[in-house]
Point group: C2
């Protein structure tokens, strides 16, 4: 970024593999003195480090959560050299890098952000639901500790007729990614505890797997029926539609194999 | 897509210029028999057709809204040839192409979607606001006819402590893109009519211009103060924060030049 003073670029890789990077992002990564890849939120089902290195024409160093949370080394490097940090999805959709960016700005390190596709826009688009009809999104977390937040989020959104996008938790150390089925079961546990009638076995849900890549699989159906569907490799997400526009209902039938009668009950 | 049967690919260009396309999107566009570019929602401030054609190594045909809404010609072509349709942002965030995609699927034409950055994830990330704290988003439309929807959206989101992303209307025929200032004035008109105290001159707002490109400009401040800020060329957007996490408050100061006292009133 001029002046020989170093910089920190956050460059998104999108959702599938190294080819999700934009042309501009590729240029910036090639120009960087060092390229780091965050490993810990890495949910890119098609990413191979060797292919990424071939595309960039240089070595990539994989760094973990601890390294980025500590941040001292990367910020020290970025004060002298141009550092490119490659991240899954669109930078800053996950909150994990905001702290690093704030520290860079405070230290006077030039920061650049190169955007990429995010699950936020990709999942609704994949199934034909209108973006402006989504309410707050939320993560369904593994139940230690147990959290009611997904239940309350769904309750608020459904009262307003809005759709809800649920991210599903992951434990990278144990390579445990929550599946659509696990997410639905956890929603059912919440209903059992709260008993307010928000979730039942006939609730229309959409399971989304590997969104934004060639192995994307989406399936809309009753909560009970989706429990036995094999969505395959992670990452997965769940959408609970609110009130459907007739065009959204038709899209769910065409793009997500929904039962016509089931979606028509949600018009 | 094999079989010589044709296909229709929706390929996102992201938010700034031709370099927002992904590596995979570029490959697919190069392989296509014909490349079309939608002109009517074209809000890419840095896009030049000549540069796009140079990148692709082939001619690009600009098509308008009427052409895509009619859809007969493009679907007929896509039944015989591989057609790539380049669109601004991430495909299907705007609802304009969903109908075309549904018709393609019904006619048995293979459809591919290649994702790209969307304002949905880029604008919150640019200013350091957490994605999962956004409620429903909404467009502030030109006041013919007058619509209260933005007011009600803001009311609902703020009651839940959530942030609101407002898209701003555009009239491409007249090349009229709503500015941050016009958007704020329209919100104030709504308050004048409704009088429920949702919007006042001290309300914390964030104006976002040309999000996701090198000429991005963001500025947080009181509604009254932002009225006199020149945000420059379109496209613009407005974010109205709800309750701020302390880290979001700090981010607004560092990334969007917010007044420290002002953001602290929104904690």
């Amino acid at each position: 970024m001029g002046f020989g003073l170093g910089s920190l670029s956050f460059i998104g890789l999108g959702l599938y593999n190294e080819k999700g990077i934009s042309i501009y992002g590729l240029e910036r990564a090639k120009e960087a003195d060092e390229v780091l890849l965050e490993g810990y939120t890495n949910m890119l089902p098609g990413l191979k480090i060797a292919s990424l290195e071939k595309l960039l024409g240089k070595k990539v160093r994989v760094v973990d959560r601890k390294y980025l949370e500590d941040g001292k080394e990367i910020l020290s490097s970025a004060s002298k050299k141009d550092i490119a940090l490659l991240v899954a999805g669109d930078p800053f959709v996950a909150t994990t890098h905001v702290d690093l960016r704030m520290r860079a700005v405070k230290q006077g390190i030039p920061v650049e952000v190169v955007n990429a596709p995010s699950i936020i826009s990709v999942a609704p688009g994949a199934v034909g639901l209108q973006n402006y009809k989504f309410g707050r999104s939320c993560t369904i977390t593994f139940p230690m500790p147990y959290s009611d937040v997904p239940y309350d989020t769904l309750k608020l959104n459904r009262a307003a007729g809005l759709h809800t996008l649920f991210f599903l938790d992951l434990r990278t150390e144990e390579k445990h990614f929550m599946s659509v089925g696990e997410g639905i079961r956890l929603l059912m546990v919440m209903e059992h505890r709260r008993g307010e009638g928000i979730i039942n076995k006939d609730l229309l849900l959409i399971g989304v797997a590997r969104a934004g890549g060639p192995e994307q699989f989406v399936k809309a159906g009753r909560a009970q029926d989706l429990l036995s569907v094999d969505f395959g490799d992670p990452p997965h997400a769940i959408i609970v539609p609110g009130r459907l526009h007739f065009m959204e209902a038709e899209a769910l039938v065409l793009f997500a194999g929904a039962d016509k009668e089931l979606v028509e009950r949600n018009l």
